[in-house]
Symmetry: none
Subunit: 402 residues, 2 copies
């Protein structure tokens, strides 16, 4: 039996509450002239006070040295093997528009593009058509394309980006991208990577042909490039694995979508960090696991905006008392991965974590940052183990073996 199944087999139910506060891209790097990492520079008295009562450490989201995408990093946070459950771009895009994915769906990302008369791609982004145009074109495709026994959905995202959903029986998603990733070439054929995906690949070929006919009179978006084909795999839910009624609070749709795949009840309508904390408080009685996702730490990191990321951390710190006054049985504060402003991108660096419960064993760490947490009692740990530690701290795991 593999470790995740062992954990699942030990689950015991109780009335405890677990809160995961996830600051996206939390880990940082010292930047020239700033005097430390973003977390070291930020004034965060509430988080530091909590740190002193908690056990701390550093998390490797996937494995030392690997930089994760948001999908695998989040699966690891919830105790799902991030390599086994690596979800494709298609599913992630669909999650990102709150599209209700079902296990009968194969999904892909669409980029609208411009081809010339010979079928050569001259603009991979169709002149970045605006979202209104995108919506009109998606509707046009949806009305004009018909494939027997398969429901076709074409959902707009933003600018030139959309999502293709094929819904039906016996569809499979191991299909190569049709996007050649450069201009001056024709789109590629959708080729199946395994035997069982061959029939689906032929349906996709038919889709592309019909799409091109339907878009023949368009000036800019006259073809589709498809990427990241993926099949919904029917992920075991948090309820099924851990017996948890899980609640998800995020301002960005992609994170709502990921948690929806795992059976969370998803809160809608939070637009600000304050909204998110309010939603936690208002729904605290009804659920027993809470995921509260802060996107802005990652966004400012991606922008290379060191001080902006510091400011987000300080804003979140001010709201910490809202959580602590709820007195959760187990409170975890961490991120999904590092996004140092210095790198303007996700990175491989481990990131700090704190775990508070009445039964944690506090260490000597007094400040919540990447350097202080080296000395924490959790040591350096793979993120996938975090959920197990949280469950035990909440009294929800029986012992293994006699």
């Amino acid at each position: 039996m593999k470790l995740p199944s062992i954990v699942d087999s030990l689950i015991e139910k109780n009335e405890s509450k677990i809160v995961f506060l996830i600051l996206d891209g939390l880990g940082g790097l010292p930047m020239e002239g700033e005097g430390g990492t973003e977390l070291q520079v930020a004034k965060k008295p509430n988080l530091d006070e909590l740190t002193a009562r908690s056990i701390c450490g550093l998390l490797d989201p996937l494995s030392p040295g690997l930089t994760p995408g948001s999908g695998p990093a989040h699966f690891a946070l919830f105790g799902y093997d991030p390599f086994q459950y690596n979800i494709g771009r298609g599913i992630l895009e669909a999650a990102g528009i709150d599209f209700p994915i079902t296990p009968r769906d194969v999904l892909a990302r669409i980029n609208y593009a411009t081809i010339d008369r010979k079928g050569i791609i001259v603009d991979r982004r169709a002149g970045r058509i605006d979202t209104k145009e995108n919506e009109r074109i998606c509707k046009k495709l949806q009305e004009n394309i018909h494939i027997p026994n398969v429901e076709i959905m074409v959902e707009p995202v933003k600018e030139h980006r959309a999502v293709l959903v094929l819904r039906g029986d016996n569809l499979f998603g191991d299909i190569e991208d049709t996007d050649p990733q450069r201009e001056g070439h024709p789109p590629l054929k959708p080729r199946a990577m395994d035997h069982e995906s061959e029939a689906t690949a032929r349906l996709v070929e038919d889709f592309v042909k019909q799409a091109q006919e339907a878009l023949a009179d368009e000036k800019k978006a006259n073809t589709v490039l498809l990427r990241g084909f993926s099949k919904h795999r029917g992920y075991p839910s948090m309820k099924k694995r851990y017996g948890l009624n899980a609640f998800s609070i995020a301002t960005y749709p992609m994170y709502r979508g990921i948690t929806r795949l795992l059976g969370f009840t998803v809160h809608m309508g939070a637009n600000t960090i304050e909204d998110e904390f309010k939603a936690l408080k208002e729904n605290y009685a009804q659920y027993d696991f809470f995921y509260l996702h802060i996107k802005q730490t990652d966004s400012r990191g991606e922008d290379g905006d060191f001080q902006g990321k510091v400011n987000v951390i300080e804003s979140v710190d001010k709201l910490i008392p809202i959580i602590t006054s709820l007195n959760p049985d187990c409170l975890v504060v961490t991120g999904d991965h590092s996004t140092p402003a210095k790198l303007k991108a996700h990175s491989w660096h481990p990131l700090p974590v704190l775990l508070y419960s009445n039964f944690c064993r506090p260490d000597e760490v007094k400040k919540f940052d990447e350097i202080s947490c080296i000395h924490g009692g959790l040591g350096r740990m793979l993120t996938v183990h975090l959920m197990t530690v949280a469950l035990s701290n909440a009294g929800r795991l029986a012992k293994f073996g006699a």
Copy 2:
């Protein structure tokens, strides 16, 4: 997909340079009256200065508590699973004489030995005949032994030790040792450990018979004992796995041989540590991964010569500016395993590592030794992950998952 394949699938190429400075047997133990470990006692201002700018930690070469041989310890350093790629003694000996091994070879180590008239071993080392004698006997065997469709090579090593190479098609190396490891017994029959090695085992039996006939008139070396049969497995190269043009600098042939198996270009002719650093400098433009191996730390450890090992560390420290002035994108200083003078042998103790790059996250460690590095930001890590961390620090790994 297993982790090494995942790493390989994320490789991106760029112009960066990675240097691995490997002090063999680097890790030590405090010895009575010496005031610390070899690294703690050594004066090494350059390494300590580098440490202050680096991220540090402790490496377990294989798994906590396991003492590695040189083969698996080196495979782990280069990111190859040391259990999957454990190479036999035969290959290692052949590597150690710069013998050009091919994938058609089965290799074994030969010990020349003395048997009496009843075929009982009376001296397992044939009176430690000198290397000249060894060369004469190897030549004699090579001239007198003929096996259809198989090329036989008998290569002298040192004193009573040689290498047997069987080259041909469909040869396999899962064959038990013929050396009973004690005197007073006859040599054992070469027994196949699996079905596919049976034909090769019979060829080996024929080889032993012919060898005994050819050596019947020898006073000392009148038989051969065979150990560590191994088949060359066709290891994936550093170029193929990581896209790296790798360059190997070592004074000892065995380390050149190991890297040759992995497709490194091997520098020949370095006899001193100074030669090695000079070779690094002179070849720096042509390659992008450099392995510089210092043997003497291990040798002095094996001798139980604490002060000698300290002296080697101090000598290497003086040459560190030659590397840092090249300004590599990622510089790693560590060893393959511990060889404490106190133990006069390889040991299981984890050993210190430092990694410098412009994107590392420096920790608070200021001295490069076994005790200080406990507090490093890399924590305690398996050596096999080191290459992944180095590749990311050199900007050569894409992120995993969307």
